[in-house]
Symmetry: C2
Amino acid sequence: MNTFKCIVSYDGTHYAGSQVQPKHRTIQGELEKALKKIHKGEGIRIHSAGRTDKGVHAKGQVFHFQSSLRMQAHNWERALNTLLPDDMFIEAVEAVADDFHARYDAVEKEYRYYVETSEHYDVFKRQYAYLYPYELHIAAMDEACTYFLGTHDFTTFASAKTSVKGSRIRTLYDVSIEAEGTMLIFTFRGNGFLYNMVRIMVRALLDIGRGKYEATIVPEWLEQKDRRLLGPTAPPQGLYLWGVSYKNADETLKNEADF
Amino acid sequence: MNTFKCIVSYDGTHYAGSQVQPKHRTIQGELEKALKKIHKGEGIRIHSAGRTDKGVHAKGQVFHFQSSLRMQAHNWERALNTLLPDDMFIEAVEAVADDFHARYDAVEKEYRYYVETSEHYDVFKRQYAYLYPYELHIAAMDEACTYFLGTHDFTTFASAKTSVKGSRIRTLYDVSIEAEGTMLIFTFRGNGFLYNMVRIMVRALLDIGRGKYEATIVPEWLEQKDRRLLGPTAPPQGLYLWGVSYKNADETLKNEADF
């Protein structure tokens, strides 16, 4: 068996999410259907770096699978892209060490969240950004971002549905906001994220931007470990899983000459 | 009865086109359904500045309708936008002279066509641009644009389905190409356009950009009045009806104080 690492982008608008659910169109479902065709009916299970919810997009989701087929990376790309629907695209395939795991070996993830602040409703952005037509105090939001940096217990910023088992401690390396015209692009980079964590942080930052809270409330929120302190989770269509990084990326690569 | 002029934008992805067709979701169908609700079941017919095909978008389509209701423009906007689906948006409503007609009074239309030339397939652009991953000779295309300017018989650039009645002579005021990174934005402004004319001109310009023809072939094509000289119509998802202009815009406006 050979192990392959794949990078996939998708427009999440018409998916019930990344993970297989009976009777729903999912990213995993489409990928496994394509792999089954390539393997002439044999079921192939994929493992992704992390789940994305209904309506959430990806520019660089990662998954791995094992196969007895000996194909060059670019042939995998072509075969998969031929079979996948047009709202998914395999960006890259690599042969990796047999014990590579897309979720357990990930050392860093990046998410971006798009907020369109224009007062003008734009039909072309409704599925690709959170349309939030309000004036925001950017300096306060920038200050609030800094309090998220570093290592914290993020219980306050995790969905109540998060598993009670396991640590809620995560380390964030980058939390920042960039403006492109009236569009705000939030970047979050860290060693891991709890369920709905990015979307809840965005809600908190927007509340601060509108003056509902001072930026200095963030450390208090982190301290109190209570999801109920914050408003509703920001909607899914603004969120993009931007990329996933792995340790010693070069070492995990298998020599292409093997194939 | 009062006459109202409306500007509407729409994402054409999930519409069978602008004009009513039985059993299909259309722009006209959605607008008339919303107007019927506002008029408590009374059917209201709308008239648009021109048809757009399945998958074609609009930033500034115009239509008019007549109503016995006395409502301020912003109340019409709010009432319609509340009832319309989220891929349509009423940008503006104006009370106009009773004899205003969205199609017959239009003096100028602008279309834009988006061509993404990147080699990289982008799932987020597939419904909003023509993905055309080829190197193009822009200077040749710019030269070709100039031959379209002015008054010509555009039979070569009209769908064979165009009505045989009526003149095929149109005047173009602007035909130009702008690059934003790897995206090419074609602008066409003229006093009118034949059926599929913009999409056939785009096909011709792309063929010239790839070196299949010299730019100087355009006058010959115009001369020969034969649609069969050209390749297939460029696909709908790159096309946007950008705006429609009317003569003496100020004179056609009714005094808002009347309402």
